[in-house]
C-alpha cells in the first residue's frame, strides 16, 4: 500500500483495481467503441449546443482559446480546445493530508474511499433524532473519518446550520481541519470564500504558496444540469487553478429529468458539463489539478427524486470511472 515518494517519505497508494492479483477481476460496462461514441457525442454537444457560462471572466478565458460566445452567454467550444484541455490536466494527483502520513495518490485505477457530503440533515448518533446539523456535527464527522482507516480522504459530511450562512464554508472548514489530519474536500461556495479557504489552508501549511506542494484541501463544485456553469462554479474552478489546489468538478444530472432518460445520453451531457469545467480550469492555468466527478444518477419518475440506491447509479458510476480512465484523469463517483 505504501511506497516511497521522491523525497523518500511514505505515501499511500491504494491497490489497483484489476491488479490485486496477477490476473485480478476486470469489470467493464463500456467497450472501447462505447467510450469513443460517448466522447464524440460530447464534443458534438460542446460545439453544437454549447454550455451556458454565467461568469464574464470565464467567458473571456474560453473565448481567448477560440470558443464562440453568443448574446445569451452560451459558449460553444471547439473540439480541439476540449481535447487539448484533457491533455494538460494531470493524470496523477497527490492529495496532501495535514499529517503527511495521510497523503494519498490518485492515479489510474487505484481505488480510494471517502464519505459522502453536503448532508442537510443528520440522524443524531446518540438520540436517533432527525435534525439539522451543526458546526459540532461537522467536527464529529471529521473525527470519525480520521479514526477509520479505510476512509482515505474526508468530504465535509454535513453543512452547519448554526453559523452565519454567509460564512458557513469557513466555519465548516475550521471544524474539519481541526478534527482530521486527512485531506479534505468541500464545496467552497464562491470565489471569495474559496480564496478565504485558501488563506486558512495556507495558514496551516505555512503559507498559500506552500499549497502547491501540500494541497490539504480540494474544492468541489457542481455544474447545473443540463449544460450550465453558473457564476459560483466558474469562480471556484478559477480560484482552485490559481490557488494550486485540486477541484472536483462533479455533475449531478438526473436521467429522465435534467438529462436524457437513457444512461448513454446522460453520460454525454454529464461528460459535456465536466469537460466544459475542466476546459475552463486548464485555460486558467494549464496543468491545474481536476478530479472528474459524478453524482449523476437516474430520476425516479414516480417521486421526481434522485435515487442514489438504484442499479442505474451503480452503472453510471462504473461508466464514469471508465470514462475518466479513458481521459487519464482521476475520478470521483458518489452515491455508494
Amino acid at each position: 500500500m505504501s511506497s516511497g515518494d521522491e523525497r523518500g517519505e511514505a505515501v499511500k497508494r491504494n491497490l489497483h483495481a484489476g491488479r490485486n492479483r496477477t490476473d485480478g477481476v476486470q469489470f467493464r460496462v463500456l467497450t472501447d467503441d462505447d467510450l469513443a461514441d460517448i466522447h464524440l457525442g460530447t464534443l458534438e454537444v460542446l460545439e453544437r449546443t454549447g454550455v451556458f457560462v454565467e461568469d464574464e471572466e470565464a467567458r473571456e478565458v474560453l473565448a481567448g482559446a477560440g470558443a464562440t460566445v453568443d448574446d445569451k452567454r452560451v459558449v460553444r467550444i471547439p473540439s480541439h480546445v476540449v481535447e487539448q484541455a484533457v491533455r494538460t490536466a494531470p493524470s496523477r494527483l497527490r492529495l496532501a493530508g495535514r499529517n503527511a502520513k495521510n497523503d494519498i495518490v490518485l492515479e489510474a485505477g487505484r481505488v480510494g474511499f471517502t464519505n459522502f457530503g453536503e448532508g442537510v440533515q443528520i440522524v443524531d448518533p446518540f438520540t436517533g433524532e432527525l435534525r439539522v446539523p451543526t458546526k459540532e456535527d461537522v467536527g464529529n464527522t471529521a473525527k470519525a473519518v480520521d479514526f477509520l482507516p479505510n476512509i482515505d480522504v474526508y468530504e465535509r459530511a454535513v453543512v452547519a446550520e448554526d453559523v452565519d450562512q454567509r460564512a458557513a464554508p469557513l466555519h465548516q472548514a475550521e471544524a474539519w481541519m481541526t478534527n482530521t489530519s486527512k485531506h479534505g474536500f468541500m464545496g467552497s461556495g464562491n470565489g471569495y470564500l474559496s480564496n478565504r479557504l485558501l488563506d486558512m489552508a495556507g495558514a496551516i501549511v505555512g503559507g498559500r504558496e506552500r499549497l502547491r506542494e501540500r494541497p490539504i484541501i480540494s474544492f468541489i463544485t457542481c455544474p447545473v444540469s443540463p449544460l450550465k456553469l453558473v457564476k459560483d462554479t466558474c469562480e471556484i474552478i478559477m480560484a482552485a487553478a490559481r490557488g494550486f489546489v485540486p477541484v472536483n468538478i462533479l455533475s449531478m444530472a438526473m436521467a429522465g429529468g435534467s438529462s436524457p432518460v437513457t444512461l448513454a445520453g446522460t453520460l454525454v451531457t454529464h461528460n459535456a458539463e465536466v469537460l466544459a469545467g475542466l476546459t475552463l480550469s486548464q485555460l486558467t492555468r494549464p496543468g491545474s489539478a481536476v478530479v472528474y466527478g459524478s453524482s449523476t444518477t437516474a430520476m425516479d419518475l414516480r417521486l421526481a427524486s434522485a435515487s442514489v440506491g438504484s442499479p442505474e447509479c451503480g452503472l453510471i458510476n462504473a461508466a464514469v470511472a471508465q470514462i475518466a480512465r479513458f481521459y487519464l484523469l482521476p475520478s470521483w463517483v458518489a452515491g455508494a
Binding site: Q26, L227, P260, V261, L263, G265, V268
Partner: protein, 487 residues
Amino acid sequence: MTVHVEWLSGADRDAVYEQALSILENVGMRMKGASALTMLRDAGARVDDAGGVVRFPPELVAQAVAACPRRVLLAGETPATDALLDGSRTFFNVSGCAAKTLDGESGRIRPSSLADLREGTIVLDATPELDVVWTFVTATDVPLERRERVEYYTYLTETSKPIVLVDCPSATSHVRSMFEIVSGDLERFRARPRVALLCAARSPLEVNGDLLDVAVEFAMLGAPIWVYSMPISGATAPITPAGTLALLWAEVLGTITAIQTAAPGAPVIACCGPGVLDMRHTTMSLGNLESTLMGVASTEIGHHLGIPVHNSGLSTDAKHCGVQAGYEKGLKVLAAVETGADIVSGGFGFLDSSSTFSLQMIPVDAEIAAMARRMVKGIDVSPETLMGDAIARVGIGGDFLKERATRARVRDGEHFLPRIGSRLPFEQWLAEGQTEIDAAEDVVRSALAARVERGPHLTDEQRRDLADVCGVGPDLACLAPGKGAQV
C-alpha cells in the same frame, strides 16, 4: 454493452481443473456401497472394494465432462414456468431444508412447520424473480415417517415451478409414481423433467453410496442432477481459495463421472457452495467474500468445461432481515450474476448461513435479485440511446421530463423501480412509518390472499392420485393458508 467481468485467466481455470484431475487420479473419492462402482471399474477406474475408494483416470473424467449437456431444462408445470439453463441468463432458486424459521410475528426462531413450508411455497410461486423451488423447509411438526411425502405433496400442489429434492428420498418407488402423475408418464417426464435431485458430496472427497445410487436412478429417468460440493476452507478443505477450488471441483467431477458413466448424457448442474471456517467462532460462514470469490471462479471453470453452474450468491450469515443481510447478499449476488452463473441459490427467504427461513425475506431477496439483473443489462450505447437530437432540442437548462422518450423508456424498464426499497424524502418516510419489512409483509399478504382465489396447482385427478401416493388425506388437500397442519 452488457457488463463484462473476469476473475480467473484461462490458465488459472486450467490449473484448477488439472489439480482436480490429479486429486481424482491419485487420492480418489470414497463412494462406498454405490452400484456405480462396478461400472466405473469396467470403464477403467481403479476401485478399492473394501474402502469404496475410486481413483479416476483423467481420460475417464474428460469423457464424462464431454458427455454433460450445456443446456439443462428444469421443467415447470407448463412451459411458462420452465427454466432452461442455457447460458443466456441467470436464474434464481431458494436454499435447502431449513429446520428453523424466523417467525415474522414474534421475531423468534422456532422449528419450521408444514404451515411455513406451505406459505413459503405459495409466496415463492407468486414471486416472478424466483425460477426454481428447492425443498427449502423441513416440516418438523409432521411425524418423520410421513413427513417426506406430505412435503412432496405440498410442493407439487402449491407451485407450478420446477422442483428440486434437496434431501435424498427414503425410497424411489413413490417418487417414480410422482414423476408419472405430474408428467403423464416416464417418457414425458424425460422430455420435461419437473423434478430434479440434489446429490451432495461430503467434503473432503466422499459421496454417500446410497445417495449416488438414487442419483444414478434419477439420471437414467432424465431428472437433472444437481451435483453439489460445499467444502469449508480451513476445515474440510485447504485454507487457500485455490486449494478449496481444486477440492471442490474434484468432488463435483468425481460425482459427475460416476453419473455419466452410468447414464451418459445425463443433465447435470455443477453446484458450487464453498464456505469458510470462521476461526474465531469455529462456525461455517457462507456470507463471506472468499466464498463469493470461489463461487464466481467456479462459474468460470464450469463454463470453461461446458457445464451449467450453480452459485450460492444470495446466502448470508445474518440472523435477521437487517443491514448485514442486505450488504452481504447485495455484494455477493452482483458478483454471481455479473459472472453469468446459470442459477443462484442461498436466498429468497434465507438467513443464518442458509439454516433459517424467513417468509418476509422472500420479497427482499427478490428485489436484490432484480437489481442485480438490471445491473448486468449494462449501458446500451447506440446513436439512438446517445440521444444527441434530444439534447440539442432540449438545450441548455431545459427539462427532459417532457420528452416523449422519457415516459416510454421508463415504462419499458430503462430504470429499475423498487417495490421494497424506499426513495421517499426522510420526513415523508417517517410519517408513513413503513419499513422494508413492512413492504415485504404486504407482498407476502397479497400472495397468500391470491392463493385463496387461485386454488391449488395440478388437476383434480392429479392431486387425487398424488394424495394416494403421498398418503395424505383430504384435510391437507384443502388446508387453508395460515392454518396449522392437520395431518
